[in-house]
Every structure is written in structure tokens, then in C-alpha cells.
Assembly symmetry: D2
Homo-oligomer: 358 residues x 4
């Protein structure tokens, strides 16, 4: 109780930023939320009402300058400034937990890793992670533990999907302008999981993707789709199948299966909101989580707590940062294949194989 | 193909009679439906249209007299004449498959058994069974096989329910006049299963029941209820819990659990119509069978085929007839307890223990 | 963040006491654990190591005397001293959250309520609750909300079970000496739920129970059983069916169904540990929570937070205290019926109807 | 009963041939099995024992010559002679039900359709179908009916898998020599379903596939794989994702999902052998069907009965024959892509687009 708490600031108070702020303010006992930044004054005002003692900043740089006791920054701003804000905090020696993706550009994503590699020489206890929330989910961890334990033999086929509930408001059309596309925005989680289950050093042999705009043809102006299927082929005899969609009727359907030579592990193939089943004149019904947060709230809280513990106790962070770059690279390649219709191939050291110009 | 087929008549062409007739006419390759009887001319006319070669009778006795090639009778008439029709066929040396219950009266039920015991001396190959359809259901058989194999240790607690979909037409109110009451009509199946799983020689120590009329208060005029709960205590440390209802919204919910000292087997605790799940804006939904026949159709067909095989091949019938009397006795005792509010106790040789008059 | 935290002490550091202490120490942001008591020095030592700033007491009375800043006490000691410790705290004007049951005796349970009714005149903001954890479970709350909303018509039949995993160590045999018996210890939760769903003012008409000792015959020396079935009949046409067991093979199986005139709500009828399914050579398998805490941990944490909020904000406590006495009364009547084999009846104002001596 | 029965012969008495023979012999009341052919004398001997009145032939041509009363032939021989035997029967004006695939070659498959188109001019009541058994499955039919009814809006994404239980005997390695490869052998069903759900006139835009040999590297010598993933892109904004495997641990896992713009239908995403769940010390377990027949037996029987009815009553056959050619074409293209690693594209009238030589 009396041990000092990690002094945390959150950059960005949008949908996820506000959630992170709340997790650190009230659900992470070893952390203390001391400051927030947002370019939106109304968001800062609301934060002030919710946590009167927390200091608020319109300017992230000012926050970094003023908050001399600061130890860690949670970057949860717009994706386009993730990398810039993360690097600034890294260079000050602060711990950083950055929302995914580091950037929609592999190069910019890499620059965060480079900055961290540089900085850690000076600040050897510094922790920087990119928040792939599913790695903190109890079910995914149980699945990974069993796989690592050899329960399914050699994991060989991976199938995973991130399928969002249809949002008829048109939000995703506007969002698509900067999201990097459906593979970078949605499937990035599935790609990260594939790397986690197949090994983070797995080398991609090829990617292919196809997609459609079944409900929101306007997405095409941003080179995006509302439903897409992708295949990732890895060297060493492993394959992954992805499905991403923004068209689900019932709610969030994020499911994953890992097929091994001796068994299979399925995560969330029977989605559910809770343990309630309703018996009605139309049959038996259960609800499912309406969105990503409804499914993974506990994982986000675990993430906040484990990141905090890792910073305070100087223990290894829960995941490698460079995996986040790899996931973005794969996501971008899938998105490119989705748009061009071409299969993209790589050699065994990860260099793209240029096919003949057609 | 060329071996002679069992020559079968069906008595009664109501809901279940017609189904039995169809099963024997087209889904029991080793049987041939040759005649039907019904007191309702329209039912006979319909049968004639469906099977032109089948002979029809308004009078069951005439059928027995005229059909000299007849080998087996399926009694599926009104419950009140089950016993009488069964006994007439038995006395002619015919095989009999009688719909449950033999009678709503234990004494009359017993008279069928007595007639059979008498008749079999003269016709040693004669088969008479009372159709407890669940014993022919693949899932119940799988459960019984596992239990008999010792998979759950000693079966000790049994819980089972027969819960019908609400029929707002008032059918059950009229039906209750002759049904023997909800425990004799619905729970008879669960009682038979309890005897099957605990052993047919199990001795009842006590029965208790309570009930309500939640949706059809008119049932009270026939001393019946629309929802009832019962407990059967057996000598030897075994207990059974029953629930019967005519109020289900979603469809037929017949579930059974057998708790043993080393495990439990559950049958149909997740009811379903088929393997389809519907993902809709209100969640995930599946339908369930609307009625008893929707759940047990395959079992009825198996019953027809196994009864036929037993008759043709002179192999032991699939179940003992005297169990049917025992089930009726228990059902009647539960029904009495339901109405009087008294617990009824029995000694170790099955005699009722009269409690002091209160 | 800066608002003062509820100053809490926990009495008892056994299995549940330690859990409560942890919930208040680290998972209840608005509370501060300041002191603990236990008659076991080793437990206090362990607490000191876990929370160096928390003060420890061998003597509960000393804790009450010394901790002048104390605002709330969590009573989680042995059941036999729940009431005494609760009353002492109540009389000091402290808020109290007492583990269930208040006592295994209805009279002693009532004495806690009486003390609270007396005390609240002097301390009108005082909160005293008995912790029925399931009322804080998200699934039960969802079920209750739907029922209260009329989604299933009139709730008429209630079926619930508390079934513990078999503990072959013999723990429960020793525990049975003071537990009040399986209906008071296990089914108390189901009884409380029945009252919650049917209305806390529901009047019991009769109770009946039977039971067996399938795995631990030694329980008989404490007048207890390892499997028991009970029926509660309420005035007004409502019935409840209970099953309690200490023999489950797979883990904790606590399920509840509420049958209404227009639908049914089922809670946890498909138990599961998490969202993982394992596909193995023997089929598809999932694990289930090993114990009560595995199933209800989140509910306990919610309970701690809501109790804290109610104390700090002087809002109504999440449940009425007198319901806890009623649940014990019903549990004791069921336990008596279990042992005597007699049905116990009550009149419409709750007085027991004495049947003729037999 | 007295109406004449369809006179049926079965060619081939291997695994599926024997099953078809049994279905027609005893589970298709309107059909009569009169003859069988097989090049294996032992199989004929066994058939003779099972059905003494059935005539047996080592030579299929002789069967066709001798059986003058023959009306229909079920071709269930080795895949390599499906087409030849089918065409011979077609040219005699017989009804034909041919096991899938017509051939592993699109051209040969087409020749069967051509023969039928020719023959039907002379025998206008002639029925020829290729047995895609899933179209007769109650769950798939329910799914299709709901989709056709508009329940899920516009079907846009299709995902389906045929995953066999691992057979460690090496059977599939030998079988792969003539099977046409995993996409032609297994996925042909999923492809047929895709055409059924998306419309049989759907035009393929591209196919891509990847695969591995996780458990049986010997398959490579026959240009086959034991796990493969494929994508089919259709003109008109529809995409399909396939997975085929011969590596499942638990049993047959054939699941299908159809994602529409307003909902999704899932078939068999929770596979099960029956309605039994086993509660054991390791959790809750259910078995699943061990093989394709275990899952689809009822569908095969329905197929036999509906084919028979269509022949006897001269009603439209349950499916179009040319779809079977289309499915083979798509399967062959996927298999080619699997082996070459190239995406294969088609123009809007189905002609393959040759990409630049690389």
C-alpha cells in the first residue's frame, strides 16, 4: 500500500484514451494517473470533472515538459501521431505503452523501435510496449499456455477473425481515411496472435487477400473494404487464414483457432456476453459483446496492471516491441494485396520478391 | 428382401397413432402395415388415401376377427382403452406394442401384465412392450451405456424433466380429464428413465410433489397442475428430482442428468432443433423442437424397427413390460402427493406406509 | 482520487477472509485496508508481509478499540462468531459487511438484524449487509433485470443448484460439524436468489427435502448429507427446486433457471472456465471453475466496491439485511426436513403448522 | 404400399457403395435393390449373404445387359470410373445417381453432362444427379431456406471447411494418387455449397490456395497436402474461404458459415455426436462424429429417398447436374494454385486469364 505508485499520463482522450485513463485512475492499484493531454478542450474538461486532481494539457509537449514526476506515458491519441508522441516520451527516458498500431506505416513503426533501442542504452530499465490487448486476455493466455505445453503437437494452421458489429453511422468510412485499411486496423490483432502462436521469429513466405464492400461501398474511395479474407504463408510449413469484417449483425465476433498436429484449441468460437441464456418463443438466445471493448475490457485492465508492474519492478515487459513492427508490415502487405489483387511473396530473410511487371 | 414381413395393424389414428402407422408403413422395412382401426371414419378415409392397400376398420374387434394373417398390433388409441385393446390382442397370441401408459390406473396396468404372463405360456414367442420411446433414443442409449460401463461411478442422483411448449388453445385442459394428471402423462417418461438408470428393481421409499397452475387455472377442476416438481426417494441411497411443465415458451425441453459418484452425464441440457445457429441483431439464436415428436421422432422409428425385429427373430424384447406398471404406480403416487400435499412413504417391499390420520 | 477512502478492517483471514482483504486492499480503489484480525498469528504475519502498512490484531475487540479511524468492518471469520463480531461493530456505529450466513441459527441471525435496527436510529447512515455474492454477479443481475422488466412474464418456477467439486480430503466432513448442514451452507445462496427473484416478501408454504451420503457417509454423524434435493413452496403459486451437492467431478456447477409464464432465463447452464475449447482425440472439452471463488471472483470484487460506495456516498445498501435471516430460516427448515424426512408447513403469516405427533 | 418400386442397382461395393446399397435395400421404402456389381468377389459374396435375392455381378457391363427390369443405377465405384459407368447407364436411358465427383477431370466430368443432355432428348423423364450429400442435410437445408428467405440480407462471405479426422494408417497417402487432391476430394462439398448459397450461376473471378504437409509429408509425391486453405473470389462482390484438412484430432469437423449483409447463419460450428455431455474430472466433454458418414448418414438416406421419388414421380431432380462440373473445375483450379503457388484469374465469362510467363 505504501510503496510508491507509478506516475502515469495518458495522451489522447478519445474512445480508447478515456478507457485507458480510467483503467489507470481506478483499476490499477499500483499506478496513479497524474496528467492527461488532448487537443480537445471538452475532453480535458470532462477529465477534470472525473478526476479533479489530474492535470490537463492541450499540448502534449507541454505535458512532457511540465510533469517532472512523470514516469510513464500511455499513448492513445490518433493513430497518425502515435509514433511521434511515443518517440518523444521514449527520448525522455519514460516508460511507454502505445496503443496499436505504432503507425500504419512500417517505416514509421520501425522508427519507434529504433528510438527505443537507442534510448534503452541510456535508460536500461525503460519499458516500451505496443498494446496488443489480446495477449492479456485470460482465454488467449490459456490457449497459448496449452500450445506451448505441447498439448496440440506442432501448431500448423491458424485461423482468426476480427469482425466488428455493423455501425450504420458511417463512422468507419471516415475512419478508413487514416486507419491504414481493414487489415492494418482490424486484423493486426490476428496477425500479432499468429506471430505469438507460431513464434515471433516466423518468416512470412507470401500473403494474398481479397475483399468486398458489401455494406459500405464508400470505403472504396479510401482503398478499403468492409469484408476481407487473407492468407499468410510462413516458411516452415505454417499457414494462417484471416477474416476481417465490419458487417456483423450480432456484435463483436473475434474468434481464433489453432490447429496442431495433435489437437486444436478454439478461442471464443461460441461468443457470449455473459452466462445468461434466454428461452423465448423464437428459441434460445444469447447476446454477445457489442464491441471490442465489451469483449476485451478485462484484458485492457490486466495490460495496465502488468505494464505498471513491469515498470515498477523492472521486470521484462509482457511482449517484444519489434513484433509490433512485423505485424504492421504484414498488415500493410495484406492490404496491398487486397487492393492490387496480387499475391506478394518474400524470400527466407524477409525481402520482398518482385514479380515480373505485368 | 424376400424374407416375410411382420404383418402389423395399428389401433387408433390420432396424433400418435397416425405417426406409428406411418413408421410401420414406410420406415420399418421388415414390417408391413396391413390394417388400421379408428372410431373416426374421417381418419380411416385419410388412411385409405395414404395407403390404398391397407384395410380400415371402425371396430377394433372386427379388425382382430377379420385379419387372419395379422401378427402384431400397435395400440395407439385413447389411453382409456389401451389396456382393453392390448389385452384382446394378447389373448389372441399377437405381438403388442402399446403406447404409454398402459393405463392411468396401476391396477388396470397390472391387468395387462397379468394377461401377458398368462398368454405367454401358450405363445412362448409372444412379445408385448409398452413404448417408452426415450429408451430408443440414441443419446439416452449412449448415456445408459456409459453409466453401465461405470464411467460415472455409482449413479446416485437423477434429475429429469418433461416440459412441453405452452399450447394456448386449451387442449391440455380438456386432455387433463383423462390423462391421469401431469405426473402420469408427462413425467412417466422420466420415471421410466429413473428406473432404467437406477435399476428396474429399485424400490421407492417416498414420493413428494408440489405444483401450481401458472397459466391454466382451469386444470384444477381436473385435479391437475401445469407445473409440478416431484421427488422420488429410493431405498439404497438414490434420489430423483422431476419437473414437468406445460408452459415452455421456446419448445420442448426434455433434459436429463445422471449424477454419479465419479461423474455426471447430461442429456439434452442444450436443446436444439438442428445444427444451425442464427446470428442476428438481437444475438445468437437457435430453435428447439416444438414438441415431443420433434425431439424423439428417430427414437419412435427405432422402436418400430426393433420391435419388429424382436417379433420376427424371436429375440428378447427391448424392455420389460412390468416396468411400465411400476412407472404408472410411481406417477400416480406423485400425482396424489401433488393434490393432497402429503408425502407418501413405502416400506422396503413396496407397501405403502399409512401415516396417522390428521 | 483525492477524496477520502473508506477505512476498512477485515476480521478473519481464512480462505474467504484473505480474499476479502485482498479485494479491499488492491481492487477497491475507494477503500483502504487499514487493519486485520485473526486468532492465528501465522495469518497475521502473512498479512503483514503482504501489506506492511496494515495493522494486525490477534484480538478482534482490541482492533475495534484501537482503530479509531475505522469506518467499516468486513466480518469473514468462522461462521460461529459472525453474529457476535458483526453486532460489536454495529454497536460502534461502523458499517458492516458480514459473510454469509449471519449465523446457522435463525434466532442468532435475527439478533444481528435487531442490533442493526437499534443502532441505525443513532447512526442513520450506517450500512450493514450480509454478503450474498451472487447478487453482484453480472449474469445474475442481467437475469434479474430482464425478469423485472417482464421479459418472462410472471416468474413461477425457480430451479437452482449449488454443487461443489468433490473434495476427497475429508474437509467437508470436519466442516459439517459447524456449517449448519448442506442446505444452510450451500443452498443458502439459491434460497437468497429465490427470494430475490420471487420477491423478498414471499411467504413460504412448505419445505421438503431428501438426501443421501453417496461419497462421504461420515457426514451422517453431523446430521448432514453430501447430496440433497429440496422443494420450497411459496404462497401465491410459486415453487422452487433446489439441489446441493459436494460430489461434482468437473468443478463448481452453480446453475439457476427462472421459468416464467412467457419465457425462461437460464444462468450458467453451460458452465465454463473461460472461452477456450479443446479439441482432442477424445472429443471437445472445456474446463469449468474448480470452486465457488473461481466462478464468483468478479462478483466479490463488485460487492467490495459497491459496499464501499454505499458507505461513502450514503446511498441505499445493495440488499436488505432481513432477507439474510429469512434465508437462514428456510435453510434450517430444509435441513430439518432432510434429517427427519417430514414435510414442514407454514401458515400465511409464516408460523409453522405443527402436524399431529406420529 | 402396392405401388411399384424403383428397381435399383449399385455399382461398387467399397465403403460408400456398400452404404448406398444398404440405404436402397432397407431405408428407401419406394426402392428395391435388385443387383450390385463389384470387381471384388468377396464384396459380392458379402452382399449375397446380406441380401440373398440381390443379383451380383463382377462385370458392370454384364449387369447392364442382364438386368432388363433395371430403372436406376447408383454409381459408387472408384472415382476413376465414375464417369464411364455413369455414361453407360445414361446411354441406356437409366436414371443415375453418381457419387461425387463425376471425375477429377473437368473435361471428363463435362462429358457426363454432355451424355445426359444428349440422352434426355430420347428419355425425357431421365434423372441424373451427382450426389452432393450436404444438400440433403436438414441443417444445411434449414440454412439455405433462411438465406433464400432473405433472413440474412445479401449473402456475401462464405466460409466452409471439410476437416477429416487424422487417419494414421496412411490410407490417404495411397488414396491421394487418384483422389484429384484435397481440394477436389474434400473441398468439393464446400465449393458446391458456395455455389448453392451464392447461386449456381456465380462466376469465379479468381482462386488462390496454399497448403502444408504437417502430418503426412509423403503426400507431396502425389502433389497433395494434408492441410490447405483456399480463397474463391466471385464476380458480383462475393468471396469464399475454404479450409480442408486430414489432421483433426477429435473427429469430423465440417462447418459452414454464411455471412450476409444483415446476419449470419452458422452450420455445425459446435460439432457433436449426439445430445450427451460428459462431466468428468477433466471438465465437460462431448464426442463428435468420427467421419463424414457419422455426420451425414441421414443426408445420404434422404438423398436415396428423394432421388427415388424424383425418378418414380418424374419430378425435377433435387439438383442440377452441371453444377457438379463447375465444382470440379473450381476444385481443380484451387488444387493447381495450391501446387504452383500462383493465383489463377478468370474473366467474366469464365475464361482463364493467362498471366505473363514468369
Amino acid at each position: 500500500m505504501s510503496s510508491p505508485k507509478l506516475q502515469v499520463a495518458v495522451a489522447g482522450l478519445g474512445r480508447m484514451g478515456l478507457r485507458h485513463a480510467r483503467h489507470f485512475a481506478t483499476l490499477t492499484p499500483r499506478a496513479e494517473l497524474i496528467a492527461v493531454s488532448s487537443p480537445v478542450q471538452a475532453e480535458l474538461d470532462a477529465a477534470k470533472r472525473e478526476w479533479p486532481s489530474v492535470r490537463t494539457y492541450l499540448d502534449y509537449d507541454e505535458l512532457l515538459r511540465e510533469e517532472t514526476g512523470l514516469q510513464a506515458v500511455v499513448v492513445a491519441s490518433a493513430t497518425t501521431i502515435h509514433a511521434e508522441q511515443a518517440i518523444k516520451a521514449i527520448e525522455k527516458g519514460l516508460h511507454v505503452m502505445c496503443e496499436k498500431p505504432l503507425s500504419t506505416s512500417p517505416e514509421i513503426s520501425q522508427s519507434v523501435v529504433t528510438a527505443y533501442k537507442q534510448s534503452i542504452k541510456k535508460f536500461p530499465a525503460q519499458k516500451v510496449i505496443c498494446g496488443f490487448s489480446r495477449r492479456f486476455d485470460a482465454s488467449y493466455r490459456d490457449a497459448h499456455r496449452r500450445m506451448a505445453n505441447g498439448d496440440i503437437g506442432v501448431p500448423s494452421v491458424f485461423r482468426s477473425q476480427t469482425c466488428d458489429k455493423l455501425d450504420p453511422s458511417g463512422f468507419f468510412v471516415a475512419y478508413a481515411e487514416f486507419s491504414g485499411g481493414i487489415f492494418v486496423d482490424c486484423s493486426i490483432h490476428d496477425i500479432d496472435l499468429a506471430l505469438w502462436f507460431f513464434g515471433e521469429d516466423s518468416v512470412v513466405k507470401s500473403v494474398t487477400a481479397v475483399g468486398i464492400t458489401a455494406v459500405q461501398p464508400e470505403l472504396r474511395k479510401h482503398n478499403d473494404r468492409d469484408n476481407a479474407i487473407g492468407i499468410i504463408e510462413f516458411y516452415g510449413g505454417k499457414i494462417a487464414q484471416l477474416y476481417c469484417s465490419r458487417m456483423m449483425a450480432a456484435g463483436q465476433e473475434d474468434t481464433t483457432e489453432i490447429f496442431g498436429t495433435e489437437g486444436k484449441i478454439a478461442v471464443n468460437t461460441q461468443p457470449q456476453l455473459n452466462l445468461v441464456n434466454l428461452y423465448e418463443s423464437t428459441g434460445i438466445r444469447r447476446e454477445i459483446p457489442p464491441d471490442y471493448y465489451g469483449r476485451f475490457r478485462e484484458a485492457f485492465i490486466t495490460e495496465a496492471n502488468e505494464f505498471t508492474a513491469s515498470c515498477l519492478d523492472n521486470t521484462p515487459p509482457p511482449m517484444r516491441l519489434d513484433g509490433a513492427v512485423k505485424a504492421v508490415k504484414i498488415g500493410c502487405a495484406l492490404q496491398e494485396s487486397l487492393i492490387t489483387g496480387k499475391k506478394i511473396e518474400f524470400d527466407e530473410i524477409g525481402r520482398r520478391i518482385e514479380t515480373a511487371k505485368l
